[in-house]
């Protein structure tokens, strides 16, 4: 009798499940979250939901866009929950797009929800959508086998490794919002025809967008930020004109504050590369000239970028953090740095080694 009871209890037990139990097909996977400035209320939240299909094939991606306005992101999501028949699962949200209008003020307030909300993985990407996040999410590329896949592939380094695309993660963005001496940035996504155009970066101070880098500056910025090679530089120094394909890049910098004289930042960079696309340079010519041209060209563009940023008091490369880390003045360091940065001079020294001219002789 006792044994029978145990068996009966066991049979009852295997018919129930735990409380977090929700099958994957009863969940709506959110792949991207877009947040825009609302027309009436504060936010307009757009979610891109994947509609799962048994067979996944290119160009067949199915998705559903839902959006709602609310005074807070969580309120909008709460309303969206009532519009769909399955549980919203934010765990797979891979990218958050902030509308340009929203990025103009109080960015740190908007990010609070993303950090606090459970279920959102902090390794998701953040980006700025031009003109609005909703426009970006509405586009589905032809090659996509999964809604939102092309955005994920663009930012993760699995698919394209474009030198124009800077990647920013949610956790890093949030860290930069809080960190003194290291400012946040975001890649900018625009829609051109039926594809995305991602070749700009938006630099923030702690509150709003201050500077939009053009594609050329973005490329240099990415090289400096990620120390990533594999990009091309157009070298244009009379009489030489060629493209240098950078294979290897290393740099280090230090901030020097001499007691007599102006503070300056010394940046030494070593570049190895191959000359590409040129009619003027030949294998048996002296390579010194060619290298020199590239050095000058690189130095100029780096200096330009750094000066642009310092003019706006923007510091996404973390110079301020480095300054404070190498001084011992407590709270005063930060005040010092704020006065030093606008007048900081940049001394850039690039050493280019040409590994080949790209010709086959």
């Amino acid at each position: 009798m006792k044994k029978l009871m145990i068996i009966m209890l066991f049979l009852l037990l295997i018919n129930i499940s735990g409380c977090g139990f929700k099958d994957i097909d009863k969940r709506f996977l959110v792949v991207a979250i877009g947040v825009d400035k609302g027309e009436v209320k504060k936010y307009n939240v757009t979610l891109k939901l994947i509609i799962p299909t048994a067979l996944v094939s290119p160009g067949q991606s199915k998705y559903q866009l839902i959006h709602y306005e609310g005074d807070s992101i969580s309120e909008a999501i709460e309303y969206l929950r009532s519009e769909i028949d399955k549980q919203l699962d934010l765990g797979h949200a891979k990218i958050t797009i902030i509308g340009e209008a929203l990025a103009q003020d109080q960015i740190s307030n908007h990010f609070d929800w993303f950090i606090r909300r459970r279920g959102i993985q902090r390794i998701e990407y953040v980006a700025l959508g031009q003109p609005s996040a909703k426009d970006i999410l509405s586009l589905s590329q032809q090659s996509e086998r999964l809604a939102g896949n092309s955005l994920i592939l663009s930012f993760g380094h699995e698919g394209t490794e474009s030198s124009f695309i800077v990647t920013e993660y949610l956790y890093d963005f949030y860290e930069r919002l809080l960190e003194k001496g290291k400012d946040p940035f975001m890649p900018v996504i625009r829609v051109r025809g039926d594809t995305y155009e991602i070749n700009k970066a938006a630099l923030f101070d702690k509150e709003q967008v201050k500077l939009m880098l053009d594609p050329n500056d973005t490329r240099m910025f990415k090289a400096l930020l990620m120390k990533k090679s594999n990009f091309e530089v157009r070298v244009k120094e009379d009489p030489l004109e060629y493209t240098l394909s950078v294979q290897h890049l290393r740099y280090h910098f230090k901030i020097v504050t001499p007691s007599n004289g102006d503070p300056y930042l010394q940046l030494d960079m070593k570049v190895k590369g191959i000359a590409e696309e040129s009619d003027t340079i030949q294998f048996h010519e002296s390579w010194n000239e060619i290298e020199r041209a590239a050095e000058q060209s690189l130095e100029r563009s780096i200096k330009q970028l750094l000066e642009k940023m310092s003019a706006q008091q923007l510091d996404p490369l973390g110079f301020g953090l480095r300054y404070m880390a190498t001084r011992h003045d407590g709270e005063k360091e930060w005040e010092d740095w704020q006065s030093i940065y606008p007048k900081l001079q940049f001394r850039v020294n690039v050493k280019v080694t040409l590994e080949g001219t790209g010709e086959i002789n």
Binding site: S17, G18, D23, I24, D25, V31, T53, A54, I152
Partner: protein
């Protein structure tokens, strides 16, 4: 001195059996009575060693003297021993108030055959037989050491099964041997017929999941274990041996491990441990990931799983139970079925049922992969007893993952290793690591000082 009256009274009961024979042999003045079981004895022995000498015997020699000089023939002074000898395949000879027994057992089970359960590619191919003496012969050939000691015991009130304890005197740990002998002496049953039964009788714990003794059919494995100081138990009529004490590692190792080069054999052992982990956790992981934490997958995979599960109306654990039931019954059925029908069963079960179940929307296609993975990976475990045990272990995992998701699996893994670590095999730790262990083959572990 045993009189004819005493003897015939003793064997009276046996007379009822139709295969019990009595014969009266007479030549000149000699007359002898012969008793034997026709089914047990080899009549050739009777003919060559009794009838022939009786006729050829010279005048001055009595037949008693002839028998005394026979090998394997002895005189019995106590009449009560006679029946037992008869049942062991002896011929009982009564001559002039003397009783002799002659060993004449007909042995049909000493054919050496190839190993089937623990087949090996490069190692020796022959395995133990169902005959105790033949087995001892095979082992002694592989282990010609004067220290190899065999102790015979008899178990079972009816079966009187012969059992041999084998060990290397000097290498064996005395307390282990004493422990085993003590457990053996405690056994009190009518019939003993298998190693599993013997193992169960020797262990005190009633509710036990894992095998505590290694069951092997390979003489080379036995030799290796003897050299490691283990005790080997041979049972008459069973083509395998029990090795004690055993540790968890023994059940995951195959004899082939020593035939390969270092990296090959070590990576194969590693592969087996991974297989072990997969076979016990995979169904549970399926439930936990599909129903609790789908964010563990890449989004691309999550979507295709969601798509394939879309037609399944039941929660994931019902799906798992359905498929596990199918695969377990399939394995169970194919073991018992004759070879000819066995193939049909696997085709019907594996191909048709699996395909159809998915198309009918009963299970998802990912679940089909999980099911077959679990089944295949389970067969990687070399020792059968352990592979059976692991088939059972996965169910507690499934149950816990149903209620608590990934956390449940981690708790289950924790409890599983605790349980293993708590186990002992004849006083020796079961879940033990081999660091600095003496190596008999000079292969797996170097001796560290």
């Amino acid at each position: 001195m045993i009189t004819i009256g005493e003897l015939s009274r003793t064997v009276k009961k046996a007379m009822d059996s139709s295969d019990f024979k009595t014969a009266r042999l007479q030549h000149k003045h000699e007359e002898l009575l012969v008793y034997y079981y026709e089914s047990l004895c080899d009549l050739k022995v009777l003919r060559e060693r009794i009838s022939a000498p009786l006729v050829k015997r010279s005048e001055e020699q009595t037949f008693t003297e002839v028998l005394q000089s026979e090998l394997g023939c002895e005189e019995v002074h106590d009449v009560s021993e006679v029946v037992e000898k008869l049942l062991r395949g002896c011929i009982v000879i009564y001559v002039k108030d003397h009783v002799f027994v002659l060993q004449a057992l007909k042995v049909l089970t000493d054919q050496v055959r190839e190993a089937t359960v623990e087949a090996s590619i490069e190692g020796p191919h022959y395995c133990l037989t169902e005959n105790l003496h033949m087995n001892l012969n095979l082992i002694r050939q592989r282990y010609p050491s004067k220290d190899l000691t065999a102790k015979e015991k008899v178990l079972g009130r009816i079966s009187n099964t012969k059992l041999i304890l084998l060990y290397h005197e000097g290498l064996v740990q005395a307390e282990v041997l004493a422990h085993i002998e003590q457990q053996l002496s405690r056994i009190d049953v009518d019939l003993i017929q298998s190693h599993g039964q013997l193992e169960a009788l020797m262990t005190k714990k009633k509710y036990r999941l894992f095998p505590l003794m290694l069951n092997t059919e390979r003489p080379d494995r036995i030799a290796l274990n003897l050299a490691q100081g283990k005790v080997v138990i041979l049972l008459d009529g069973i083509p395998s041996a029990l090795i004690a004490p055993a540790v968890f590692y023994d059940f995951i190792s195959a004899v082939d491990d020593t035939t390969q080069s270092f990296f090959v054999s070590h990576s194969i052992v590693l592969l087996r441990y991974m297989a072990l982990l997969i076979t016990i956790t995979l169904p549970a992981l399926y439930i936990a990931i599909v129903s609790y934490n789908p964010e563990i997958f890449r989004v691309q995979l999550a979507v295709s799983i969601a798509g394939s599960r879309a037609s399944v109306p039941y929660p994931s654990f019902v799906e798992v139970f359905i498929m596990m039931f199918i695969i377990e019954t399939l394995i169970e059925a194919s073991i018992r079925l004759p070879k000819y029908i066995g193939q049909a069963a696997t085709t019907v079960g594996g191909l048709i049922l699996g395909q159809a179940a998915q198309q009918a929307g009963l299970v998802s296609s990912i679940m089909i992969i999980v099911t077959s993975m679990v089944a295949i990976v389970n067969f990687v475990i070399p020792i059968n007893a352990m592979s059976y045990a692991m088939r059972v272990v996965k169910y507690p995992f499934i149950l816990l993952s149903m209620f608590f998701g990934i956390t449940g699996i981690i708790v289950a893994l924790f409890c599983f290793s605790m349980y293993l670590a708590n186990m002992e095999s004849f006083g020796q730790p079961y879940f033990k690591l081999f660091v600095g262990e003496k190596s008999a083959t000079g292969y797996k572990h170097k001796e560290t000082s």
